[in-house]
């Protein structure tokens, strides 16, 4: 399975996302923001960082990168896409996910090891978890406060599209403690905390982050098995 990791000018966790995908067992393809060719990858990770410095709204410029134009099209066609932190912001700016990430309520950048409860497990990026599973994953952001209108929030909850919530403290003031959401099809997930920083005992607070990357490999394997099965009928 080939997972593409996009590098924008100002991407910072692209190397970490690539490492995490590799540890999960994927072949990693580094994608360049200026290149619209996705090189046939099976899934894409938009990594954390400060694309274009994020001097404008976070993700507002990256959303228009040539690579993003292709990714937006492909995501609408079912390509699994995971946006982490700045990647989540980009997905919101691209309208692949509803709502927006705004400045942390307390106005500080905050980095801490954060407990989450995984709720929506029917996505390409969270199927390796069990619903209700509590995981420990670093959070680090200055603009991670998830906001959306009430109707959207109600819909996200009603449709089981809240992938994870903050528990034991909300680090940024996100509405309804939302840490991660998915689109209607479940192939696009945005997550504010950083699963790629919890994949090795040596450097992370846990190995809980790995599940997001093994999930997509399972989803892809399932999809290709299904496709093969279909082909034989």
């Amino acid at each position: 399975m080939r997972i593409g990791v996009v590098t924008f000018p100002g991407s910072l966790d692209d190397g970490d996302a690539a490492r995490a995908a590799r540890i999960a067992g994927a072949d990693v393809v580094r994608l360049w923001h200026g290149d619209p060719d996705l090189h046939g990858v099976d899934a894409v990770v938009l990594p954390g960082g400060f694309s274009y410095g994020d001097y404008l709204r976070c993700g507002a410029i990256a959303r228009f990168a040539p690579a993003m134009e292709s990714i937006i099209d492909a995501a609408r066609g079912g390509l699994p896409v995971l946006g982490i932190c700045n990647g989540f912001q980009i997905l919101c700016e691209a309208h692949l996910l509803p709502g927006a990430l705004t400045r942390n309520q307390h106005l500080h950048f905050r980095n801490r090891d954060q407990w989450l409860r995984v709720e929506g497990t029917n996505t390409a990026w969270s199927n390796a978890f069990t619903a209700g599973q509590e995981v420990l994953i670093p959070v680090k952001n200055g603009e991670g406060c998830y906001v959306a209108d009430e109707r959207t929030l109600d819909a996200l909850e009603a449709e089981g599209r809240v992938v994870a919530r903050y528990i034991r403290g909300n680090p940024n003031g996100s509405q309804r403690d939302i840490a991660a959401i998915t689109n209607e099809a479940g192939n696009v997930v945005g997550i504010m905390p950083h699963p790629e920083h919890a994949v090795e005992a040596l450097t992370g607070p846990s190995l809980d982050g790995l599940g997001f990357f093994t999930s997509v490999l399972r989803a892809l394997a399932g999809a290709s098995a299904g496709a093969n099965a279909g082909g034989h009928q």
């Binding site: 910072l12 274009y52 106005l107 950048f109 980095n111």
Partner: protein
């Protein structure tokens, strides 16, 4: 959509350039070399620029005429204290003379940063620098550009920067001006470092009224490079092209080194905000990536970062290092403001710029790499030959066909004035040293000891620093093995082998005030020990020497003593000083700060998997054995206890035995290799009590200890050379045998327990919840966020907890800074809701967008 500025051709510009200006701001054009020759008697403002009369005379002598306005500005900058080290040079020589260079050092003092080889093919480079005055004037940008500057030093050596650390010192924690400075400094460090993608892995936060009018913001960075990628600053190769890479040049930071860094603060500090540079971390990130790509492609013949003194420093140093000349066309420099004069262009300290020397055939390739990353790159000059008689070449700079500079570059870069300043022991030192803390009243009963522990761990210097450190990204790059609050930051360098480094940076201004020689050695010993307790082998040293005015003989004595102490210490430990920084004029009016030598020590791991953490591990079964390495004597002078409970500073600092420290380090390295130790924590500020509390709270593991006679001294003495270790059962014998082999005294303290209580037998028992409440509450209460902390603890009472750390009963030391503090209060209005006006504004204000590519 275009994301990249046009960098296609050398002299062609897409932004402002000086040539766009139709009218010169000078009548009849700039002050040229020709004009200087014909108007020898024109009065020049050399005094205003910080040059002494005899220095000015020497410039005239060197040039054989009066300098032009641009030349005068260049000399004033390069001969400033900050750039020329004119007061410190005679002392700093000891670092080279005494300390062994060792076999690992690939580059040392005089380079942008020292380079230390850590394996056959890899090297690391690290250095600590000050950005004190800018950070006081403009906390956010001052601190941010401090990070940016040190990172470019690392980058200039050919390394990829991989982490930062920040030793910080502020005035009293509860002083209103600290509430202005600290949040801005922390946000600036975070804002820049986080956006650059560099983990912040440690540092220090110290509060003391001595720093009220002059906080210390030091920044350390470390980078890694393949040995063969080491870069040099020499502008070698006649005909090579001089390329300016990175941000455009603006009017920010003009006079930064001469005005801000090389003079004492006065009431006009606020007016100097324009002297502070403004940072753009995004541009720096692009600069890093483009430089690394250029290095790897072998396209760079020489490189130098632009920091203090801007183009002036970079042009003169690169040319002087090679002995060549240089011809520069200043109108080619891309500008933010079209109306900048040649002098301003030369003096600007605009951030995020590098100067490259490239061969003509590589120029196109260099420009295209810059274009890929969306970074400006402009050929502004070329390398010219040395004189035919073998004399060094000349630096000739023109601006729109006017030659405004024609100087021997070495006269600026290397041949600045050198002073052997008068030194005199401070008059009050004898009395100060006689006023020992060992005679102060002490807590006697168990209850009093318990109350003292709670008061100490809640005091600003000893309390939990999470409020600060959680504003820094410690995870980015995925190689952080240990970070604050651990004794050292530990980084994995090589994923395949586990090769890594440990870094710690320490200093104690109070100890240095009592005895600068011993204070410097104590700082070295502590940083060395902090590295050693993780199991790493300490190999090299960097330093940032923060002192008052060198024109004060008492300060100069402190400086001379501290340098002597550090040089002697490095010689004894066998660790070379690879580079560093001197920061003078840290004083307000006549009141100098405590002499504050800050020492960084680098250690090496063959495999970081064997690092030893500071926290006690959750016990399985009977718990680990707790042992104390080293000996405790009654050493309370200069201690945190004396300061917190009595507001006392006097006596002599603890003794330091560097031979013992060296053996202790060897013991810890062996214990780490053989896996004999499950946790280890250095004893320093606050003594054993602090170490026990910190090691317990880290993973919420209790401890039961029994102390030898005089529990108070055992708990609060700050004797050097001590380490608290946890040894899993079954390893005790082996560990003690090892300690005996290295002749390190060991005493048994007790065991770790699953019950979350710190119990000191026959004295007191302290629940970890209670300890945590005291330890964690202080900074949120002082700087905001205590309600949220209470939330997190599920304890609504917590926020209102009045267990305030008693502000020290201020003694003589404080009096000298009280007036300065009061002056600052009026200069820095604090908004009613407690959010410092400056910090709040900066957080919301976007950085300058004129460098942001078009969307």
């Amino acid at each position: 959509m275009t994301t990249q500025p046009d960098t296609s051709a050398a002299p062609k510009q897409t932004g402002f350039a000086a040539t766009d200006v139709l009218v010169n701001e000078f009548d009849g054009g700039p002050d040229t070399v020709q004009r200087a020759g014909t108007t020898p008697d024109e009065l020049q403002p050399h005094t205003e620029l910080g040059l002494k009369d005899d220095e000015y005379d020497r410039i005239r002598q060197i040039l054989g005429r009066r300098p032009t306005a641009s030349e005068l500005a260049m000399y004033s900058i390069m001969w400033s204290e900050h750039c020329s080290y004119k007061s410190s040079k005679v002392h700093l020589r000891q670092f080279g003379d005494k300390a062994p260079r060792g076999t690992r050092m690939l580059a040392g003092i005089g380079e942008n940063a020292g380079v230390v080889q850590i394996s056959d093919d890899l090297a690391v480079t690290f250095k600590v620098e000050s950005h004190n005055h800018p950070s006081f004037v403009e906390p956010y940008q001052g601190a941010a550009t401090g990070v940016g500057g040190i990172v470019r030093d690392i980058l200039a050596m050919g390394a990829r920067p991989i982490a930062v650390m920040d030793p910080l010192r502020f005035g009293a924690a509860d002083h209103p001006d600290t509430a202005r400075v600290l949040p801005g400094v922390v946000a600036g460090i975070g804002g820049y470092g986080n956006c650059l993608g560099l983990p912040n892995i440690g540092g220090e936060i110290v509060f003391d009224p001595t720093y009220q009018g002059n906080p210390l913001v030091n920044a350390l960075s470390i980078g890694v490079l393949p040995v063969e990628r080491l870069q040099h600053k020499e502008a070698a190769g006649v005909g090579n092209i001089v390329v300016l890479l990175g941000a455009r040049t603006g009017r920010d930071g003009i006079g930064g080194v001469s005005v801000l860094a090389s003079a004492t603060f006065d009431d006009e500090a606020e007016q100097r905000r324009p002297s502070v540079q403004v940072g753009d971390p995004f541009m720096e990130k692009l600069l890093i990536e483009s430089c690394l790509e250029l290095y790897d492609a072998g396209l760079v013949a020489g490189i130098q970062d632009l920091g203090g003194a801007g183009l002036t420093c970079a042009l003169t140093e690169t040319a002087a290092a090679a002995g060549t000349g240089m011809r520069v066309w200043l109108e080619r420099v891309p500008l933010r403001e079209a109306s900048m004069s040649p002098t301003e262009i030369l003096a600007s300290e605009s951030q995020e710029r590098m100067l490259l020397i490239v061969t003509p055939q590589n120029l196109e390739a260099v420009l295209s790499v810059a274009e890929k990353w969306g970074v400006w790159a402009t050929a502004i000059g070329e390398v010219t030959p040395a004189g035919e008689d073998g004399s060094p070449g000349r630096l000739v700079i023109s601006w729109n066909d006017h030659v405004v500079v024609d100087v021997p570059p070495g006269s600026l870069a290397d041949d600045g004035p050198v002073y052997a300043r008068p030194i005199r022991e401070p008059a009050d030192l004898i009395l100060l040293q006689a006023d020992k803390a060992e005679t102060l009243p002490r807590p006697a009963t168990g209850d009093e000891l318990r109350a003292t522990v709670l008061r100490m761990i809640a005091s600003p210097n000893l309390c939990d620093k999470t409020w600060v450190t959680e504003q820094y990204d410690r995870y980015v790059l995925g190689n952080t093995v240990l970070a604050q609050p651990e004794d050292s930051g530990v980084l994995r360098i090589d994923e395949r082998t586990g090769l890594g480094v440990a870094l710690s940076v320490d200093g104690n201004g109070r100890f240095a005030r009592l005895d600068p020689y011993e204070g410097a050695r104590l700082a070295l010993a502590e940083a060395y020990r902090n590295v050693a307790v993780t199991g790493a082998e300490p190999v090299a040293v960097t330093d940032c020497l923060n002192f008052g005015s060198p024109e004060d003989p008492a300060v100069m004595w402190q400086f001379a003593e501290a340098v002597r102490g550090l040089a002697d210490g490095c010689q004894q430990l066998g660790t070379p000083v690879t580079g560093g920084n001197v920061s003078f004029y840290n004083q307000t009016g006549a009141a100098a700060i405590h002499p504050t030598p800050v020492v960084g020590v680098l250690g090496v791991f063959d495999d970081v998997a064997r690092r030893i953490p500071m926290g006690f591990q959750t016990p399985s079964g009977d718990g680990d054995l707790l042992l104390l390495l080293g000996e405790t004597t009654t050493e309370l002078s200069g201690s945190e206890w004396a300061w917190v409970t009595h507001g006392h500073l006097g006596g002599r600092p603890p003794k330091v035995d560097l031979e013992h420290e060296r053996r202790l380090a060897q013991l810890m390295a062996r214990a780490s290799q053989t896996g004999l130790v499950s946790a280890a924590h250095d004893l320093s500020d606050g003594g054993l009590a602090q170490a026990l509390v910190e090691s317990c709270l880290r993973y919420n593991v209790g401890a039961q200890v029994t102390l030898a006679a005089d529990a108070f001294v055992q708990l609060f003495s700050e004797s050097a050379g001590r380490v608290l270790v946890a040894v899993p059962r079954g390893h005790e014998k082996a560990f003690k045998a090892l300690a005996a082999e290295f002749t390190i005294p060991v005493s048994s303290l007790g065991v770790t327990t699953s019950e979350p209580v710190l119990e000191v037998r026959d004295q007191f028992s302290l629940s970890l919840d209670k300890a945590r409440e005291a330890y964690e509450g202080t900074l949120p209460r002082l700087f905001g966020g205590s309600a949220e902390l209470a939330n997190r603890h599920g304890d609504p009472e917590h926020a209102a907890d009045p267990t305030a750390p008693a502000s020290p009963d201020r003694g003589d030391e404080v009096l000298i800074t009280a007036a300065a503090g009061a002056a600052m209060e009026s200069a820095a209005p604090i908004e009613a809701d407690g959010i410092p006006a400056a910090a709040a504004a900066e957080v919301k204000e976007p950085s300058p967008t004129d460098d942001a590519p078009d969307a």
